[in-house]
């Protein structure tokens, strides 16, 4: 079958046709670069990261940038059966024809999908099996802070700011056609990790004994966001993306330092864009796309000091454009911001049920702040409240879980004041299992066991059996695998390959996730889940020690000790806490 005939038979074929408005040209140039996103079109098209990298790489002379997303199962199968290779959407050229194929790793559960895409493109999975004829396979995105589980598949990892590193790599690759020579030179750039130049030694106990070759790679940082590359326009999806709207990045980094949160440490130091820059970017995106909504993204937009001014100027310059604020913290919650939106539900993330545990995780939010925010939301007419919590956090007891129910009761009580009928109030409580992540103060912590999980879920089910309240959770299997992949070492490459070959891909989609495949793949490689979910010793060499994200290990350790003492560190706004990033650049806050 020809491609066109396949397209007639698959679900949502417009995912695979390209030609989106604002997506650039379709002709190959001197140097050809394909950005790959290991998830479906609608998810990938909403991602800001690949758009920023596209904008940055496009500034290099003679470069053509194309995009490719993971085919849904039906299309992938049809490509394979008809021996058609996966292709760049706009050029319709096979991935193999590009000079560089760059993957965005946003989420550990997408690792097998990377192999799925390479396989569909008829590109050998392992770097060592790819000669000069094959493109250089790069990977960037937050997951590369621990690149080791993907080390055998990827030629080169970008650590940190893609908009800084990727154009440099494009220039270098354009000049250096020999792959080996290119990788040699690239490995000397800041923010580039070429895994084959690093060797890992394991001890008899299964732990890492040491690294040789290149043993430290520093994260690249885009220090001045006002000068950093940012897309002047956005492609408008052939089918609506999950977030079918314009996106601005207001700030990068978060000043809060919640001890479980990887992004909070990975994206330090805090940097922000000026109001003028943002208004210009908004005008450009809105006029070139026709979107009726623009979203102000960051890890914590409420911490952007000039938010009121920004909203005022956006209102003046773009009166017909709705403004979305997707990540406001409870304590920065302010009526002025909310009244602009017409959403019917509001989401809060207290993360833990008691003040004691919130102090442990450095989630600097008090009961009063939550109550004030909820009270305000009710005055505005909201009747749906979503609450996000974590369970299995370090030091957690039953009392902390019961505290989740206490918060729910308190919210109901607030709602019932002023003669509101409680039956109209809907609260949904969503609880996820804590996953220890690299480069957080909790990176040494263990994940809860199956027994503990069952106990905690049973307790929560009992306590949250309240009228008008729905309780949802993820199964432990999923969180455990994420923990394995997040803290994994190079031995997991074999596991990921084996899991893919057994049929695992798109693991982020629950309908595709099959835990047994992974357990089998681990066993085949002489590994098990427990090796990666156990408590790590503070003196242990960690798989991700080769990466330097500029926050010191000492600082993380200090934070861990404070967690166990129940001491809050507070936000960077209350003074520099000396995490380490200030040594290289200084911080906008300190």
């Amino acid at each position: 079958m020809k491609l066109n005939d396949i397209l007639k038979k698959v679900e949502k074929p417009a995912r695979y046709t390209g030609g989106e408005w604002g997506s650039g040209g379709s002709e190959f140039k001197d140097y050809n670069y394909c950005l790959c996103f290991p998830d479906v079109y609608e998810v990938g098209m909403s991602n800001l990261g690949i758009r920023v990298v596209e904008a940055a790489v496009s500034t290099v002379d003679g470069v053509f940038v194309d995009r490719c997303f993971a085919p849904w199962q039906d299309f992938g199968k049809a490509l394979k059966e008809n021996n058609l290779p996966l292709y760049g959407l706009n050029s319709r050229r096979p991935l193999k024809d590009f000079d560089t194929v760059a993957f965005s790793l946003q989420f550990e559960m997408s690792y097998t999908t990377v192999l799925y895409m390479l396989d569909l493109a008829n590109i050998p999975l392992r770097a060592k099996d790819r000669g000069e004829d094959y493109p250089v396979i790069e990977a960037g995105g937050p997951c590369t802070c621990n690149p080791e589980p993907m080390a055998d598949f990827i030629d080169l990892f970008v650590i940190g700011a893609g908009e800084v590193v990727c154009p440099k790599l494009a220039v270098l690759r354009k000049e250096t056609k020999k792959k080996e020579e290119f990788l040699q030179k690239a490995s000397k750039l800041e923010g580039v990790y070429v895994p084959k130049y690093t060797q890992v030694k394991y001890g008899d106990n299964g732990l890492i004994e040491g690294f040789s070759g290149i043993t430290k790679v520093k994260k690249a940082v885009a220090y001045d966001l006002d000068k950093a590359a940012f897309p002047k326009t956005q492609a408008v999806g052939n089918i609506a993306a999950i977030f079918d709207r314009g996106v601005l990045e207001v700030m990068r980094g978060c000043c809060r330092g919640c001890r479980f949160c990887q992004a909070g440490f990975l994206y330090r130091p805090i940097r922000k864009r000026k109001v003028e820059t943002l208004v210009e970017q908004a005008k450009s995106i809105i006029s070139t796309t026709g979107f009726d909504e623009i979203s102000l993204n960051s890890l914590s937009t409420g911490d952007y000091k000039e938010l009121k001014q920004l909203l005022k100027e956006l209102k003046r310059e773009l009166p017909d454009t709705k403004v979305a604020l997707p990540s406001l913290r409870v304590d920065s919650f302010d009526g002025e911001f909310v009244s602009q939106s017409r959403k019917s539900s509001l989401t809060f993330a207290p993360e833990a049920g008691t003040q004691r545990l919130r102090d442990v995780i450095n989630k600097d939010v008090t009961e009063e702040e939550i109550e004030r925010a909820v009270r305000y939301a009710f005055e505005q007419g909201f009747t749906n409240i979503k609450l996000y919590f974590m369970m299995g956090l370090p030091t957690e007891t039953d009392e902390d879980l019961i505290g989740i129910a206490d918060i729910v009761y308190k919210i109901r009580e607030i709602y019932s004041q002023n003669q509101r009928a409680a039956r109209n109030l809907k609260i949904s409580v969503s609880v996820s299992t804590f996953i220890p992540k690299p480069f957080t103060p909790f990176q040494w912590e263990r994940q809860i066991t199956r027994e503990e999980f069952e106990h905690k879920i049973a307790l929560l089910k009992e306590k949250l059996f309240i009228k008008g309240v729905t309780f949802s959770w993820n199964d432990l299997e999923f969180s455990s695998l994420e923990a394995v992949l997040a803290r994994g070492d190079r031995r997991l490459c074999g596991v990921i390959e084996s899991a893919y070959k057994k049929g695992s891909f798109m693991d982020g989609w629950t309908e595709y996730f099959n835990n047994q495949i992974w357990l089998d793949a681990l066993e085949e490689n002489g590994l098990n889940v427990g090796l990666y979910t156990r408590k790590h010793d503070e003196t242990e060499i960690l798989a991700w020690d080769i990466i330097d994200i500029r926050v010191t290990k000492n600082y993380l350790l200090k934070e861990l000790k404070k967690a166990y003492d129940g001491k809050v560190t507070g936000s960077c706004f209350s003074g520099c806490k000396g995490c380490g990033v200030q040594k290289d650049f200084g911080c906008e806050l300190c």
Binding site: M1, K2, N4, D5, L7, K8, K12, P13, A14, Y16, T17, G18, G19, E20, W21, V236, N238, I239, A240, D244, S287, T288, T289, G290, F291, D292
Partner: protein, 209 residues
């Protein structure tokens, strides 16, 4: 009021009806063509599309009515400079009253390639032809086939379209099952109102102006 005819090709034929509407709205916004909005809680642009085209069917005869007085002569360029690959305005006309094209259209013509040559007159002489529709149900389609003939461009089929519609791919698959052929390809070429093309009908209908 503005009536336009546009094409869907080069991949755009795979964009669904609803997503096509989304793209049309955005094209009007980008081209800064002022269109009236509905009143109410969720105001939307007053655009009226012709009946849905099946996903995967190319077309040179899609119609859209827009509540705007933007001059037709400037419109085609303004639209095409702001349209994604494959969506292209071919023709436009201003009129004073809104024609209800959706209700008026009664036929459409398609080029269907990939079907082996056969005697179209013999088939048209049949009193009943049953075919499997997209839901998998057996349906009588003979009364919805208005004409069939082979030309240099392959099989030309004129089929009922509007209040009752026969999908050209349903007919195509039926014909392949009888006469053989390969994967069919369909291009919608024209739409009709009472035996006139839609453009002809619009130009003749003086009471619209």
């Amino acid at each position: 009021m503005l009536v336009i005819k546009y094409s869907k090709r080069d991949g755009a034929e795979f964009i669904s009806h609803l997503d096509t509407l989304r793209h049309l709205q955005k094209i009007f916004i980008r081209a800064k063509i002022p269109v009236k909005y509905s009143q109410g809680y969720n105001p939307h642009m007053l655009l009226y599309m012709s009946a849905p085209l099946g996903v995967g069917i190319k077309s040179d005869a899609e119609y859209l009515v827009a509540e705007t007085d933007y001059p037709a002569k400037d419109f085609i360029d303004a639209f095409n400079n702001n349209a994604p690959r494959g969506i292209k305005c071919l023709w436009a006309i201003n009129c004073a009253k809104k024609p209800n094209l959706q209700a008026l259209m009664d036929g459409a013509e398609y080029q269907i390639s990939g079907i082996n040559h056969f005697d179209t007159q013999a088939l048209l002489a049949e009193a009943s032809i049953m075919a499997t529709d997209k839901r998998g149900e057996q349906k009588e389609i003979r009364d919805k086939i208005l004409d069939l003939k082979f030309t240099d461009n392959g099989l030309i089929a004129r089929l009922a379209f509007g209040n009752t519609t026969l999908r050209p791919d349903v007919l195509g698959e039926k014909l392949v099952s009888i006469y053989g052929g390969e994967d069919i390809d369909v291009l919608k070429t024209r739409c009709f109102i009472k035996d006139k093309t839609v453009e002809g009908w619009l130009q003749d209908e003086t009471n619209l102006y």
